[in-house]
């Protein structure tokens, strides 16, 4: 539909438009990148730029299947060893050719970097077989290995370029991706240009600019005024405006992101599962999705989104039922409710969710005050267990259940490592470990399915909704597709006409 419209439009305006050929794609996002060294950061704005500059060994397609990237093929030699055969003739932006030694260098550097080591912590060693073949050996059998290698942090770097640049590498990145780095006006924009020797062919659009536009409203405005061609993460309220403008289109899709309400399960009264269930019955997630997100999400029943490998679609979600909730509270010995606090950071969406929750919990006598906590203090406090309840989101970046469930619910990851509800359940631990070390996809799926059933019953965290991500786009931009993890690849995008 959008494409059809674009063709019609460009046919109408063809006469004038033909004179000036648009050669730059401008993308607006909510923050500037921090560094373009994929091993030095793991934040979304940086990844969104880096993903245009780099390539990974393997990638995922739209249906989350693993497809070849820099590796043209791979196979398991035994349950701990995976052998990758690299594409030949792949060029880095500095003219060097991709070799097995770069892969070894990259993965070893990753393991040594505290920022991203956790993504490849399963890897024991990387052996070079020949110039284009490399073996990756894990400590234990590790099911999600390929998914982890699709992470933007696992982008393959050029050993020579990294060593030559030293500390400044983050400002002069060199990759094998479709676009190469040109210039960075700090805080304002990053300019990239198409890489002539990209192994997938040179891109149709010569230049790409990433602009930093912190306010959502301004991104929508910039789309309308034509200052940007693609605007990431529009405010829910602006969606209709974009949808209704004839030259703009709204792309909205499921993502890997789930917003959840966490309980400190080691603190009374949340150590009582009945209290957690009572709260779950008091919540109306549809209201939240409707009022806060304007429909940009789906009430959830699992800590991982439906697109993630291992998602269990057969779990019922809690339906609001105040009688049931009061009953459970009474059984827990708190018939009149109690006073508590909820922590959130200053993310406006989360603050709004907190306000709706506040009003809903008031109905069953729970007097919940909202504390908006600075992000640093929030991470600090929740990793120490100073909180009662909190709102947070989780993006299962790798698209594999392990990345979400293990960190959030294993008793080994209490606190800062992800399990901020301090949940401990021996059975869950055992299932998660078993699923992680299995390399049989069907078995893993079943194990994760079981974990999600237990979690939905015990609610250490209440999954509020699966978040949709939206993007506003000029209709003359063709071939754009979303990545559920949020770092969309601009490869293959072109202008109409």
């Amino acid at each position: 539909m959008a494409v059809g419209m674009a063709v019609v439009l460009s046919a109408c305006g063809g006469a004038e438009e033909a004179v000036k050929v648009k050669d730059t794609l401008v993308v607006g996002q909510g923050a500037d990148a921090k560094t373009l060294d994929p091993h030095a950061t793991n934040d979304q704005p940086s990844s969104r730029v880096a993903v245009q500059i780099y390539s990974q060994l393997v990638e995922t397609d739209k249906d989350m299947n693993i497809v070849p990237g820099l590796a043209e093929s791979w196979k398991s030699l035994d349950d701990k060893t995976t052998q990758f055969v690299l594409r030949k003739g792949v060029k880095f932006h500095n003219g060097e050719e991709l070799k097995a030694s770069d892969v070894k260098f990259t993965l070893e550097a990753m393991i040594a970097s505290p920022t991203v080591a956790h993504i490849v912590s399963a890897i024991d060693s990387v052996d070079i077989v020949d110039e284009y073949t490399v073996n990756v050996i894990t400590k234990e059998p590790f099911g999600p290995l390929l998914y982890h290698l699709t992470h933007t942090a696992a982008s393959i770097l050029n050993e020579k370029a990294v060593k030559a640049a030293g500390d400044a590498y983050g400002q002069q990145p060199v990759g094998t991706g479709p676009y190469q780095f040109v210039d960075w006006a700090v805080g304002d924009r990053i300019t990239l240009k198409a890489f002539d020797d990209y192994y997938g062919g040179k891109q149709a659009i010569p230049n790409v600019v990433f602009r930093n536009i912190p306010e959502g409203t301004n991104r929508a405005i910039a789309l309308e005024t034509g200052e940007i061609d693609i605007g990431y993460d529009l405010e829910p309220i602006d969606k209709d405006t974009v949808r209704n403008k004839e030259n703009l289109a709204l792309v909205e899709e499921e993502s890997f992101s789930v917003a959840y309400l966490g309980f400190n399960t080691q603190k009374a009264p949340f150590d009582n599962v009945k209290v957690r269930q009572a709260i779950s019955y008091a919540i109306n997630a549809d209201d939240i999705v409707e009022a806060v997100l304007m429909g940009a999400g789906a009430p959830s029943s699992s800590p991982i989104g439906p697109k993630v490998f291992g998602y269990n679609p057969e779990i019922d979600r809690y339906q609001q039922n105040f009688d049931k909730a009061r009953e459970l509270l009474a059984e827990a010995g708190l018939p009149d409710g109690f006073k508590t606090t909820i922590w959130t950071n200053d993310n406006p969406t989360r603050v709004q969710i907190a306000q709706v929750l506040q009003a809903q919990l008031r109905q069953i006598g729970i007097d919940m005050s909202i504390e908006v906590v600075e992000w640093g203090a929030f991470l600090d406090g929740t990793s120490r267990g100073n909180h009662d309840m909190f709102i947070l989101g989780w993006v299962t970046v790798t698209g594999d259940a392990d990345y979400g469930l293990y960190a959030l619910f294993n008793s080994a990851t209490h606190g800062g490592a992800g399990n901020r509800s301090f949940y401990s359940n021996a059975e869950v631990d055992q299932l998660l470990n078993q699923a992680r070390t299995s390399i049989d996809a069907a078995e893993r799926k079943e194990l994760y399915g079981k974990v999600q059933v237990i979690l939905q019953n015990e609610v250490p965290t209440f999954s509020i909704y699966d978040q949709y991500q939206n993007i506003g786009i000029q209709k003359n931009v063709l071939g754009f597709s979303m990545a559920p993890a949020g770092h969309h690849k601009l490869r293959g995008v072109s202008f109409a006409g």
């Binding site: 309220i237 009022a291 950071n345 009003a359 908006v372």
Partner: protein
């Protein structure tokens, strides 16, 4: 600019303190002096307009509960009625949770006035005290105090605000404290300047001669005689504090929801600016009119307190 908060929020008004010699000319406190000030103020139409508006705001704060119930109207959500325009039922429309904006503005007077007045009061007590001591004793002590004030002036108030809020939590009290701290140096300077001109006057020497203690001299004789610049600065400071709160709300450091506070209402509604204009417009206008009134009154007071501007 006051609301940008990068430095002292009311620094822009710093230089508007009456020049020291004005204070020097002021006689020791007398009832008739204040009556005279009032009669001068009464003649200033603009200042009276400001006073009337502020009186209305104060009355709204006092009688807020009679106008709208807090539990059932001000904070109760009505999600089916969200973002409605002004109507007979909702005079100024509803916000993103379907709450009556008029009721929230009325109750917001309490919060905003409290933040404004208390933060200025804290700043006056701390800053005024330090300034008085510095000015009265002079010498090394003066130097140390004023250098410390310089340091505080150089630390961006937004940093202080974020630091206080992240260390102590985001609530009304801490917010007021954060705003107060950053204007302490201003009051210290204002009071010190006044004290410097007063401390060597004959009536102070007289008090000293009859054996009054330093404490007594400072509190009975000096402070009452530097009140005028502090009052003027204070009226403007309340305005600055309300704007600072709005600014802090904008960067997410506002007060705890669901408390209605004008700045938070304005900042929170900014994403709806284009779709539901009333959500930001009415709190914005309320802030603007209140600040305007405070400024009018402050300017009027300054003119009235300045004997050289007598007609």
């Amino acid at each position: 600019m006051s609301q940008e908060m990068t430095l002292d929020p009311i620094q822009g008004q710093l230089e508007k303190e009456p020049a020291p010699e004005i204070v020097a000319k002021a006689a020791p406190k007398k009832r008739s002096q204040w009556l005279e000030v009032w009669s001068r103020l009464k003649r200033d139409k603009m200042a009276m307009l400001g006073l009337v508006i502020i009186t209305i705001v104060v009355l709204a704060a006092i009688f807020a509960d009679f106008i709208a119930d807090y539990e059932t109207v001000v904070i109760a959500q009505n999600l089916s009625d969200r973002l409605q325009g002004p109507s007979a039922q909702y005079w100024l429309g509803t916000d993103e949770f379907g709450r009556d904006i008029f009721a929230r503005i009325i109750h917001g007077t309490r919060v905003s006035l409290m933040v404004g007045v208390l933060s200025v009061a804290i700043a006056i007590v701390l800053g005024g005290g330090l300034g008085a001591v510095a000015g009265y004793y002079g010498g090394k002590l003066d130097n140390v105090i004023m250098r410390v004030m310089d340091i505080f002036l150089a630390v961006p108030s937004i940093l202080l605000a974020i630091a206080i809020v992240s260390a102590l939590g985001a609530n009304l009290m801490n917010l007021m404290f954060a705003i107060a701290i950053s204007s302490v140096p201003t009051y210290a300077r204002v009071v010190r300047a006044s004290v410097l001109t007063i401390r060597d006057q004959e009536f102070i020497e007289a008090a000293r001669a009859i054996g009054a203690s330093d404490f007594r001299i400072i509190f009975r004789h000096i402070i009452p005689n530097c009140l005028s610049p502090v009052i003027v600065q204070g009226a403007l400071g309340v305005a600055g504090a309300i704007l600072s709160t709005a600014g802090l709300s904008f960067i997410g450091l506002g007060i705890q929801p669901p408390e209605p506070e004008w700045g938070a209402m304005l900042a929170g509604g900014r994403q709806y600016l284009r779709h539901a204009w009333h959500v930001t417009t009415f709190p914005g206008l309320t802030i603007m009119i209140t600040i305007l009134a405070l400024n009018l009154l402050g300017d009027g007071l300054r003119d009235a307190l300045d004997p050289r501007l007598k007609h």
